[in-house]
Every structure is written in C-alpha cells, then in structure tokens.
Subunit: 251 residues, 4 copies
C-alpha cells in the first residue's frame, strides 16, 4: 500500500490579490520556500514531496502518522502568512491513493473557501506491514549533448515539458503518477507497475517525443529508501551495467 498526502494552501488565490495583486517575485519566492520547507519536513521522516502545482503539493508519506502531519501543519502556520490543509489516502496504487487524498481535502471545504482552515483528514494510514513504495526515477538519455549544449534553452525546455506531459498521461493509464523534479528528471510513484509495463510506457513516450528515456526503479518500505534505490538503478543504467531501459532494485 502506498500512502499519499495532498497538501493545499488554504484560500491562497484570494490572498495573492488582497488588497491588490502582490508582487510576483515575492509570491514565487514564497512558493519555492514553502516547497523547500515541506520537502525538509517530510524528508526528515524519510518521505518525499513533489511541488506539483506549488499551491497543491503531493507527498508520498508512508511511515508518517497523524502527529507527524500535524506538527508540519502547525509549523507552517507559525512561519507563513497562510495555513495549509492536508488529506491522506492509502491504496494499492498511487493514482488511487491520491484520489482518496483529494477527497479527504475536498470534504473539508473548497480551496478558495475563507472558512476552510487547516483541515487534516486521514482516510487511512499504511501500516508497517503493508507499507510498500515503488518509485521510478526517469531521465532523458544524454540530454546535455543532444539538447542543453546545442539547442537554445527554451527549445530544450519545450522538449522536457513535452516529455513530462506525455509521461503524466501514459503513467496515469497504469494507475501511476509522474512529477517533474528538475533538469531532465521525473519521478513516478508507480506501485504495481512491472518492468514490461514500464518499458512500454517509456517506449510510447519516446516515440511521441523523439527522445530516449530510461528509468531506475526502487521498491522499499519507505519513500526515501525507494528513491535512493531508484537513483542507484538509474546510475547503473548510465554506467552500462544493463542494456535495458529499466532497472528495478528492491531491498
């Protein structure tokens, strides 16, 4: 079972334009700080957060209970000009778990409701026995030599976001999620997806976008360790330890 936490800033949209629109560089700083802070807080519990849309962030939170979430929620209230709500869901696939997590937040009220404040709704937690996280770390083969160092920066970005969108779509079809994590890197919480399926997903995206993708995949009880294994898998492919486009590692 994979446990997903959806984090949403309370009533953020209206705040950004009250009394008038706030200075955009300030908002960008604020959002990046929130993301960095949540990454630290969840990271301290071996969990991992993806920025997603910055005002709606998604975490893999296996191992974290109500108290751990609550302390983070309190800490944000104590340091930011806004509060956050959280919903937590657990399921056998990441897509299903985020669906439940979303419901848990929506039950508490709308994202732009002035009444909703610091909802923390947990549908269920992954027990230690059942906890399992599969993460794929996907990147583009040799992007530095084929794009970054030869194309202009914006055209490279178009390729990177084209790949992102197509990965998002294809991975959804196999009940997985996909997030951009910078550079030419993507992370996909992908419980239950086997090597054949993932290989197919990557190939489909390769064909649509004209790049060549590879993926290290880690399977572990907790997110931090799964991500570590995924990184090692990716390094092993880069080091030509396999000819395959995917490499699965499990503790």
């Amino acid at each position: 079972m994979i446990q997903i936490t959806l984090i949403q800033i309370d009533n953020y949209g209206p705040w950004t334009v009250t009394p008038g629109p706030r200075f955009e560089p300030d908002l960008q700083t604020l959002q990046s700080r929130l993301y960095g802070d949540l990454e630290r807080e969840f990271g301290a519990h071996n969990a991992i957060v993806f920025f997603n849309r910055f005002d709606n962030l998604i975490a893999i939170s296996n191992g974290m209970d109500y108290e751990a979430h609550k302390r983070i929620q309190d800490s944000i209230r104590n340091r930011y000009p806004f509060t956050i709500s959280m919903g937590v869901g657990t399921a056998s696939t990441a897509y299903e778990a985020q669906k439940i997590a979303t419901k848990m937040i929506q039950m508490g009220g709308g994202a732009q409701s002035a009444d909703r404040c610091e909802v923390l709704n947990i549908d269920s937690l992954a027990s230690e026995d059942e906890s399992i996280v599969q993460i794929a770390h996907i990147d583009i083969n040799d992007i530095t030599n084929t794009l970054t160092d030869v194309e202009n920066a914006y055209d490279t970005s178009i390729s990177v976001y084209d790949v992102l969108y197509n990965l998002m779509i294809e991975l959804k079809k196999v009940d997985s999620l996909c997030f951009f994590i910078g550079g030419d890197n993507y992370m996909a919480p992908s419980n239950k997806v086997n090597p054949n399926t993932l290989r197919d997903v990557l190939q489909k995206v390769d064909e649509k976008t004209g790049v060549k993708l590879k993926a290290g995949v880690g399977i572990a009880k907790y997110p931090g360790r799964a991500a570590d294994l995924a990184d090692i898998g990716l390094e092993d492919i880069r080091a030509n330890k396999t000819d395959d486009s995917v490499l699965f590692l499990e503790d």
Copy 2:
C-alpha cells in the same frame, strides 16, 4: 528591447551523483532554495526569474548590468555547494533574446564540463532608453470550481501541464516564452505580441485543451513593473471590467 539572462548550475548533473547519488529530498530542497534565492536577488533589482528546469533558470533582467549579475554569482558561490554561470542577451523579442543568452553560456563550455566555472558572458544590455518589457500573466478561468474542488489532484495537474505545453508551443510561434508560475498561472515574456495575436494564441490553446484562458498584459520599462501591470490587468478581467480575454496595461 527585452534582456534575458540564462542561469545554469555548473556541472550539476555529475555533482548530484558523486560519489553516489545524493538523497533526492535534499536535492529538491537545494533546487527550490536556489530558485527562491535567485528570485530574491533578481527581485531586488525589479527583475524576475522563472524556475524553468531548476538547473537552468531564465530571468528577465532589464535594468541589471554586469556588476549586478556578478554580485549574484559571487553570492551563490559563497552559500551553495556549486557555482553558476550566466549568459545575457538582448533582442526585440524574448525568444530571440534567450537564444543569444544561451549562446553566451554555451560559448563558455558545456553544462557538464568540469572545466567551466562561473562564466558570465553578456552579449549586450538593454539601454535605459530602449528598455521595454511585455509580460502576459495568463490563467485558467474558474479552475477552482471546475477542477481543483471537483476533480482529483492529479487530473487537475494533467490539465494544467497540458495547457502549459500548448502555451509554450503556441507562444514560441510568436517569438515569446512561457513559464509555469504555480497554481493555474503562467507568465509569458511576450514583447511585440499585440492583443489580436495573443487572443488567437489563447483561443487555440483553449480549443486544444478544453479550458478557457485569459491574460493580463503589462508593458513597462522594467520587469517588476510589467508583472505588476499584468497582475492588475488580470484582476480587472476577473472583476468583469472587460469582456475581452486579454487586457493590456501600459504606464
């Protein structure tokens, strides 16, 4: 003339996996901090930075000279485990300017070259007389009620990134750039694009993606002010001060 700065972390890829892969939540924190810090530093000069790919960031930097860039470059070296290189270009359109900025960095060496360190190549600066920045702030109509509060979080994200990719493509066709700035918001440095052209761009993306877009557009000597005007324009559309999907404001 719009002035664009491309900021690239020196030799970042190799560093992230030396001696072994570094903990992903640490890297995510690091990247978000770098983005937040650069946003502050450029923001202090009324400029604005977009995270782009996090290891390659793009700024509108009209008003900033060699010294201002140099101080930021030094400051990063003094606080981060890596250094950054910068290329600066100026042109009548944003797309052209980033092309020159990219060349300026590429001239200094590859993104994964261990030899390249703290390149700061400026092709030309926008003089005060010629300086002009046009920024469009684009968002999705009523996303909270149509998506965030009713769809699951991931499906909403797919829509948001679908829009992003299509905006990137369509705006490139009119020599503009487009960046995601969180939520359902996008910013497009778009010098020389007139209301008719922008209206067409939005409509094309509307049709492809099934959402409805609108844009406030600010035109000013410097980026911070242009962004402010764009925000005000967007607020005016939201407040039904116009029926149009675009509203241009200029000092």
Copy 3:
C-alpha cells in the same frame, strides 16, 4: 539524563577567507540559513537547537539516535558549501553533557583542521527510560515599556546582552547552560536545578543588571515538550497566575 549535541562547521574559519575574504552579508546569510535549517531538522525530531556562536551550535537532542544525526549531517553536505561535525554527550546536567559532547568532537580533530570532516562521535544516548529534559524560558519583565519603547535600540541591546552574560555565568554555577533566543528571551537547559536555586539565580542577575527576570520551567521526556511547558509557565506568570518569579510545569 539530558543529551546534548555540539555541531561544528568543519574548517569554517579558513574557508571564509579563501581565496580572499568572502562578502560579509553572504556569510551572515549562510550562517542564519544553517541555523534555521538545523532548527528545522532537529525540530522535526522534537529537539531544539541554539545558535550559540553560529559556527558552533548546541542542541538538546534527547530522542535522536545515530541515524537521525547522520541524516542531518548528510543533508547539510548535500546543500551547503561545507560539512559539519557532531559530538553527542549525555549526563545528569546540561553543563556536564556539553562537556562530553565537546570532547567527542575534539577527539575527531581541530575546528580548523583541513583533515577533519564529518566526525559523528556519540559518547552515549539518553535511553527512553532515563530521558529527561528541563528547560527554563527566562525573560525580562515588561521590557517593551521600560526599554524598547523608551530607550534607544542600542542601549536596550546592551541591557539584553548584559543579562545574557550574567545568566550564562550564574547558570554555569548550577551546571546549566543559557542561550539567547531573541527579543528579551533566554533558554536555559537546566536539569536538576530546583525552584529555589533558580529563584536565587534570577535574583542575583536582577541585582547585577537592574532588570527583573522571571522563568517558566518545563520538565518532560523530550526537548520540544519541555520547551512548550516552559512557554506555558511563562505565560501563566505574565497572566499573574502566580506571584512567584518561577513556575515549574511537568507532564
């Protein structure tokens, strides 16, 4: 038993002046960030860090084991231009525990040795059974009306640092520590100090410095909770729930 961690930046002095002196505002930012980050990391474990000298920070770390320390040490290496070493000691008083923690670091090499890197020496950890933390939160009576709002800022600061120095000296005599935590606030890890003794300490400092001090004192298994209780105690004194200058709270 109270558990103290001493955190020391490795070879920091030489780094700050290599190749030439680094820009002081950059160093100040760097130090404040390190402090803020360590506070978050330790805070995520219900522990608490005091900035002390910024390059030598002191934490009460009951409840944190080798792994928890190691992950923080790794995380700093992954995000900062330097590394940190840590020594951990446990004793019945805070003064004794920090003495051991210091020895643990010094065993690993000098603070300005280029060879020492990421020492993590633990003499002993406080077991759950024996773990106990006493923290006094001390402040100056009505400083806003007597100093901040009537004196000039610097003269107020002189008073605040005068009190700090005298508290440091007097609390050492009873095997405790004292740290400035901003405003007119001080925190004293003070295991084994009873109300009478603390009352005497405060009175002595009152007489020497001409202000009037009070203290809420929390006693708990872990630092975060002890600090919370101390804060509540201080609030109760402010609310005139007692005439005493000290109020001890224990779970």
Copy 4:
C-alpha cells in the same frame, strides 16, 4: 555621515503567544529566516544588517532610499506572518544615527501596539557626497587553539559573550556600536573613531576579559565595501603584515 536603519517586527511579542505559545523551534526558524532574508535584501544594495535582538535588527543602509526600504517592507509582508516597521536616521556617528532611527520608529507607535503597522519613518538620508561608513571587524587572536579546541563549548561561548558585552560598552563610549557576527567575530560601525582610540578600546577589553583582540577597519562610501576593506585589514594582520592590533584601510 552614516545612515542607520532600525527594523522592528510589529507586535511580535503578543503574536508569539496567540492563541497559545507557539513552538519555540518554529519561532527560532522564523527569526533566523527573517534575518537571512533581510541580510539578502539589504546586501543586494551593498548594505549590511546585524541580527541584534532578531525582533529588532540594525542595518547600515547608506545608499538606500525610501523606495528601496519600501520594497523590502512590502516583500516581508508578502512572505511572513507579520509585518515590519523601519526607522532611518543619519548622523556623523553610528550611535547618534541609531538613536534617531529609534526615535523614528517610536514616533510610529509602540513595539507591542496592535495599531502600529509598517511604519517607515525616515529622518534623513545620507547624500552621496556626504556618505561615509567606517566598520571595524574585530576578532579574538587564535581562539581555535586557545579556546575552541581545548575548552568545552560553553566556556568558550562565555568568553565570546564576555568580550561582546565589554566591546558594546566600550564602543558606546566612543559613539560606536558593536554586534556579534558569529564565531569570535564582531562588527563595529565606528565612524570618527581613529586608530589610537580603537587601539585603546581593544586594550581595555583585552584587560577585562583575558583575550587578545585585533581589528581590521574599512572606510568607504558604502557599507559593503567598508566591510570588505575591514576583512582585508583583518587578514593582513593575521598574515603579520603589521604588528599593530588595528589596521585601517580606505579606498
């Protein structure tokens, strides 16, 4: 003329205990972040901030006008759960300038008044012609070998804060200020103090505290450059380029 800005968090004390006392590690993080951010913002203008008491910070701000202060004030409001007020004063000595800056804030209301919000009172600005800043960077001779590496951490801190307090007192007598900047380092805005006077100040503190102090002193139009020169002066003394305990450098 040296220009001093006093920065004060509005109504901070009451906020920290409303509705109940907030978690101390959160407040410590918040304060360190505020300090780091202000340091960046002022640093971007070649100015420098000292943390002082964290809720009352003092900056040397020569070269910064109303707009530059205003943008910082706005930026804090946009990213923090509180606002800040600022007072600015200019005089021939630092002590006098901070006195005026304090008055400017106090005129706007009390530090714990719920009514005061974002005061920005400027008595006068240092014109470019008259602008001059003298900063002494003072440190303790060989503290690593005499204290850090041989004494326990707390006893070393007592020495460092003993020196701080005595420097604060002695430098006030010559109309200067002194701030702790971490490690064994102090910075003293000290316009008009000549080498003989400073030598005497250091000697007096040496005698009272049992350490040996030295100082590099920079004199320049703006604070950043003055600090740079002070750093270079201190390095020159460390490198035995002079036998004197003070070295003045001026552009």
